[in-house]
Symmetry: D3
Subunit: 115 residues, 6 copies
């Protein structure tokens, strides 16, 4: 597993646990609801994870992008498909999305190597 | 056809024509590229239009939302599916997306009535 | 009651009902959670409503601003206090917040007249 | 003078006066500073107004766009120049800037007619 | 004092000094005005710092969040109170605020250790 | 050449090549169009690069800011001129632009040393 992937996962787990331990009911429910959002429904999880990815890209949140790239990878989404999600994000969100696309591409490549 | 739908389409067409008549090459190519982005590819147009819709919602652009709702409607996307796109947008983008969801729901309902 | 206040409330109620009738579980829970967020807790509702107002202003969501102005009004927040919330929003968010401040000021004045 | 131009100016003046009458020192100073920002300096006002315009477009603030279009018009900026500002805004900010470009184009055309 | 706190403060001071040394009048006045914004007024500094914190979170500016966390810490705001500010930010701004909440929580914990 | 400048350029080149190698037509054309946007036209490249810089600042994209600072440096823009671009960005975009201004100032100073 690459360093970048491990570091992202470890920090994310550690701090999510810390936040949840603080016992704020609204935050706990939001974290819960976040998980439910991507469950199978009228749309398959596979499609919803791409929706989460493109939203994270246009809002330019690198950590959210990494998280949804992991989920897209788990869902068996192919590299040409991921590139088309990147394309929508770059057209809708403009060239300010490009630096985030560079980091997303790098993270995606690392996920591919670590299957 | 409802007034809201007609007005949106008429203003959009009129002003797009006006902008293109100004003959700025970069803008003309961007408009062109925008159309290509949603063409069938590794992902079907149907999925891409939902990607366009969710991006427009989290970026809170009502006119972009209307445009992609029309395209989703043409692609035969169902109301429960559209609601799940709305759900992703509201969770990722927060409660500031709610007012845009109200206007999106209204526009979607008008599109359904006008099939 | 002023027309602007009535129209905002009527449209908001009508469309919230419509959205909730669509029975998407994630959206229903988010609407619920939204209400809980501003309940008395470690911080009083009064403070939380100002937090909601300033967040809505820097994110430039006019309908969210109106909603929180109503809540601030119910909480007995004074005009000089509201102006200080506006000031924080304008300094943090910049002059692009000014047009939203104009509409917020107008709505606040209407709320005062309708006590 | 077109209705759209008159309405924008009248509402802007009326509400700016109302806000300033509330006598919040931070807001008053920010309004003042805003005016100073575009004064002749190392860069001419002409350039600074285009900087204000492009910033307003990528941040998608229609009223800010109108304001800077008026200033650009006063500075004798030509239509092909304004279109190139629009082009930068659309490329940097993406297709979500297009609906704002439609309204900007319309306002610019009205300003031209009213010279 | 933790490394993270020291580094943040040192870089912030060094670069603020450098920027102010460049003697741009608008920037100098804005820095000044920024300080005035949080002074005691109709609202206490304590409340205003929470307004600054929540605004920084929904706008997803990590450095601004750190700065206001320091000020909230100085104002004696408790951990449950800070968590309620985080809750408002996450509900209003959505799950894209979560990664910023992780970093905010970590910084807050370090501030607590260094009292 | 400073480490920061070298690292930025190396990573940017490497990942742009990687993205282009993936052969997504929309992304390739957008990259191309991005270059054309800043070509001499009704407005000189010099002005357009300042438009790109101010847009990147208000949208708070550090990598985009670095890129346009390099281009502004190549165009012979002076430090007082760059500071006035920073001033417009800070007034329009608010104090959340300040942390990005700190990093921009540092990068600009490094570019000056490396002429």
């Amino acid at each position: 597993m690459s360093d970048q992937i491990n570091e992202f996962r470890a920090y994310r787990s550690k701090m999510n646990e810390r936040i949840l331990s603080a016992d704020n009911l609204v935050i706990k429910r939001l974290f819960n609801l976040d998980t439910n959002t991507y469950a199978e429904g009228a749309l398959p999880t596979r499609t919803k994870e791409m929706l989460g990815l493109v939203s994270s890209m246009v809002l330019r949140c690198d950590d959210c992008v990494k998280y949804h790239l992991e989920k897209c990878h788990e869902q068996g989404i192919s590299t040409p498909e991921v590139l088309e999600v990147f394309a929508v994000a770059n057209i809708v969100g403009g060239t300010i999305v490009i630096p985030h696309t560079r980091r997303a591409m790098e993270y995606w490549d690392e996920l591919q190597k670590n299957t």
